[in-house]
Symmetry: C2
C-alpha cells in the first residue's frame, strides 16, 4: 500500500483526536496484518468505494473507547451505551472524511459510506483473502486503539 494512501488516515486520526478530544495519542509502527486477528470491544467501520476500495475500522478496547468518548463529549461516560456508539461512529466518520479530502486533493476518486458501529467483547474484524490490510496501533492513557485500513486500488 502506498504511503500516500496510508498517511492521510494516520494524520487524520492524530488530528481528530487532538482537536476534537484533546488527546495526544502515541502512534506505533503500522504493520501489515497477517492471518491473525486482533481483538477489540468497540469498532467503527466505514466502507470506501471508487479508486480506493475497501474499508477502514477504528477499533477500541472498552477502556480506551470510554476515555476517548469522555474527552470527545466533555462529559464522563461509564458504559458502552447508545451515546458511546454514536460518538464512535461520528469519530470514525470524521477520521475517514478527513483522509478522503486529502486523497481527493491528491487526485484519488473515492467515496465513503456511513459508519456502522460494532459492540462486542473480544470481537475481530477481518477482510477478504488477498486484500492487503495495515493495522496502525495507537496508545492512549487509558489503553490502546487501532486504525485498520484494508483496501485495494482500482486504476
Amino acid at each position: 500500500m502506498k504511503a500516500e494512501i496510508l498517511n492521510p488516515f494516520i494524520q487524520s486520526t492524530m488530528e481528530v483526536l487532538q482537536t476534537m478530544a484533546g488527546i495526544e495519542p502515541r502512534r506505533g509502527a503500522p504493520r501489515l496484518k497477517g492471518g491473525g486477528e486482533s481483538s477489540y470491544d468497540v469498532s467503527g467501520l466505514i466502507g470506501l468505494t471508487g479508486q480506493v476500495q475497501g474499508f477502514v475500522a477504528v477499533s477500541f478496547r472498552e477502556s480506551a473507547a470510554l476515555y476517548v468518548v469522555t474527552c470527545f463529549l466533555g462529559e464522563p461516560v461509564g458504559t458502552v451505551d447508545a451515546q458511546v456508539r454514536d460518538a464512535v461512529g461520528e469519530l470514525t466518520n470524521i477520521i475517514a472524511g478527513g483522509a478522503k479530502r486529502v486523497l481527493a486533493q491528491a487526485g484519488y476518486d473515492l467515496k465513503i459510506s456511513i459508519p456502522s458501529v460494532v459492540v462486542g467483547v473480544n470481537h475481530s474484524v477481518s477482510r477478504p483473502r488477498g486484500v492487503p490490510c495495515f493495522e496502525i496501533p495507537f496508545e492512549t492513557d487509558a489503553g490502546p486503539f487501532s486504525v485498520e485500513l484494508c483496501l485495494k486500488l482500482e486504476v
Copy 2:
C-alpha cells in the same frame, strides 16, 4: 424506506442461499429497528455509497453461520475459522452485488465496498442516529440469521 430499495436485498438473499447453498430460508416480516440491538456471532458488512448510502449487514448466530457455510462450501465446517470468515464475506458480497444490479437497472447509482467480517460472541451492529434501518429476519434449519439494511437516499 421504499420497497423498491428493500426488496432487491430480500430477493438477492433468498436467491443466493437457494442457488449457492441449496438452502430455502424462511423469511420473516421486515421490521424497522428501534433503539434495541440484536445480538449475533458472525456478521458480514458492506458499505454502500452513491444515491443509496449506508451499509448492509448479514448477521448470523454461530450455528446458522456454520450450517450455511457448510452448505455453501459443500464440506462440513465445525468452528468459525478463516475459511468461515471468508465464506461469510463472499456470501455478503454476492448478496449485495445482486441487489446492486437490480437497483442499477431501476436507475439507482450506487457502489458497494469490499466486505468486512466481524466475529465475536453476542456482538451488535448499530448505525448513526437518524439513519433508518430495516432488519429482515430469516430462519434456517440451524437457526436464525438476519439482513440489516441501514441507509439514506441521496437525491
